[in-house]
Amino acid sequence: MSIVKPDMSVNLAGIPLRNPVMTASGTFGYGEEFSEYVNLEAIGAFVTKGLSLKPRAGNPTPRIVETPGGMLNAIGLQNVGIDAFIAKKIPFVRTVNTPCIANFFGDTVDEYAEMTRRLNEIPEVVALEMNISCPNVKQGGIVFGTDPACAASVVAACRAVTQKPLIVKLSPNVTDVVAMARACVDAGADSLSLINTLIGMAIDLKKRRPVLANVTGGFSGPAIKPIALRMVWQVARAVKVPIIGIGGIMNATDALEFILAGATAVQVGTASFINPGAAQTIVEEIEAWMVANGVADIKTLIGALEV
C-alpha cells in the first residue's frame, strides 16, 4: 500500500493547518521579507516579529554573534508597533492564504492585555502568540516568563479579552518548565510554544569586551536542540493543550523528532537565516519521509515516541 499524498494537516487549538511547519517569530520578519524565497502557501503558518503597542527601535549594535552551532541575538524586540503593523504589514498578510499568527509582548500586564485587544480586532490574525520570555529587554517580560504566578496573571488578563487561540511561548531559562507550562494552561492558554531563546554571552578576547552591545543575548540554532527537545517532551506529557516545538530545527528529521516528542506543530527559526527556504524545504522533506515510511497521517506521529 503506497501513500501518494500523505495527510500532513494538523489542528492547532482550533486553527486548521495544512501542515505542521511554521516560521518562528523574529526570524521571518512580517512574512514579506521571505516571499521571494518561500512559497508562503506551502507552509503551515507564519508568525510575525514580536509586536508592541509603540514601535521599538531595539538595542545598540552589535546585535548578532555566531557561536559554535548557534547564534546569539540581542535585537531588543525592534518592531514597527501595532499601528504600523496594521497599516503597513497587514495588507501583505491579506494576500497570503496561510494563517498569520501575531507574536506580541508588553512591559506590563495592562500592555499585554491592550495588545491582545488590538490584535483580537485584526481579522487577518488567526491566533496570538504571547512572548513572555524574551531575555533581551529588561522590561520585556523576563519576569513574567520565569515565575509561574506572574505568568498566570498575565495570561489570564489576555485570555479575558480574546476568543482567538492564545499561544503562550515559554522561556527555557527556568528550573521547572513544566510548572510554567501548567500555570499558563491553567490560566487559559490554548497552546504552548517552546522554546524561546536561552540566555547566552560571547566575549571578544582581543577587545576584552562582550561581543554584543547588550552584553547577553538570546541563544538559538542547532546547538540548543537537545534542550528544546527535552523541554517539549516534558511539557507535552504534562499538559493537554497542543504544543509547538521550537529550537534548532534545521531539517525534516529535526522537525519529526519534535513531533514524536509531542509537538503538534513546529516553528523554524534560525534555519531561515541560513536557508531562507528552510520552512518550505522541511515541509517537502517531511512529505517525502512520510511516503517513504508509509505514514499516511502525520497526526499519528504526535507524541508517538516509545519511551
Partner: protein, 273 residues
Amino acid sequence: MQFTSMILSNAEISPGYWRMRLTAPQEFAAATPGQFVMVRVNGAIDPLLRRPFAVFDVGVHTPPQSGAVPQVYFEMLYRVVGKGTAMLSALHETDLLDILGPLGTGFDQGNADEEKLIVGGGIGLAPLYLLARELVTRKSPVRLFAGGRTRDDILCITEFERLGVECYTATEDGSLGEQGLVTEALKRRLDALKGKATLYACGPDGMLHAVAKIAAQYGIPCQVSLEGYMACGVGACLGCVAPGKGHSPETPDYRCVCTEGPVFESSDLKWGA
C-alpha cells in the same frame, strides 16, 4: 535569488587576500555596484551563518569552443580574517557554494559629468571596482584613492587602471604610494576641483568617518558602504542595523544595512555613535 554556484577560480592575489570567480544564473547579470551576496561556506553547522561579501565584478564568459553557452559569473574579493574566510580560501575550482544575492541597495551613480572620487581602504575596495567600471561606462571622470596599512593591502590597482581610472595610493608604512592616509590626497584633489565632486567610500570605520567629515566640510555628496554583523541579509533578523542621522540613545534611529544599505549617504548616518 538563491542559487548553487560553481567556483571557476580562487586565487590569493596578495598575502591574505583572495579573489574568487563563481558561476551565476542569467539574472545575476543585473547586479548593481555596492550590492552583496550571502555565502554559505559549507553545508555543516560550523560555521553556521552565511558570510556577506560584496560583488566585486560581474560578467559573461563565452567559452572558446563552438556551441558553448555563455556563462554569467561574478567575483568576490575577500580577506581571510576568521573561520569562514579561511574555509573559503581552501576551496577549489569546481567546488560548489550556496549563494544568496545580489542583495541590498547599492551605489547611486549620480549625474555623469561630475567627477567621482572613490576612496577604498584595504578590502574596502571590493565593492568599488564594479562601481568604477559602471561609472566609466557612463563616461564619468573617476579617480581612485586607495589606502592601506602596507602595500599588501592595496588591491587590484591594475584592474582599476585598466578601466582608465587614475589611481592614488597611500600606505601607513610608506611601502607603496604616499606615506600616511589616503584622505590627504583626496583633500588635495577636492581642493583642486573646488569641491565639485561626489565621494564614494568603503573601508574601515575610521576611514569612512574621516571621508564623511571631509564630505561635510566640502559640502559634497558622499556615499559609504557599511559592514554590519548579519544573520539573514534580507531584512528579517534586524541584526545588521546602523545608527541613522537622527539617532541618539534616547531616540534610537536604526537603518537596516542589508536592505536600506549597505550603501548610505554619509549625511544620513550618525557618525561615532
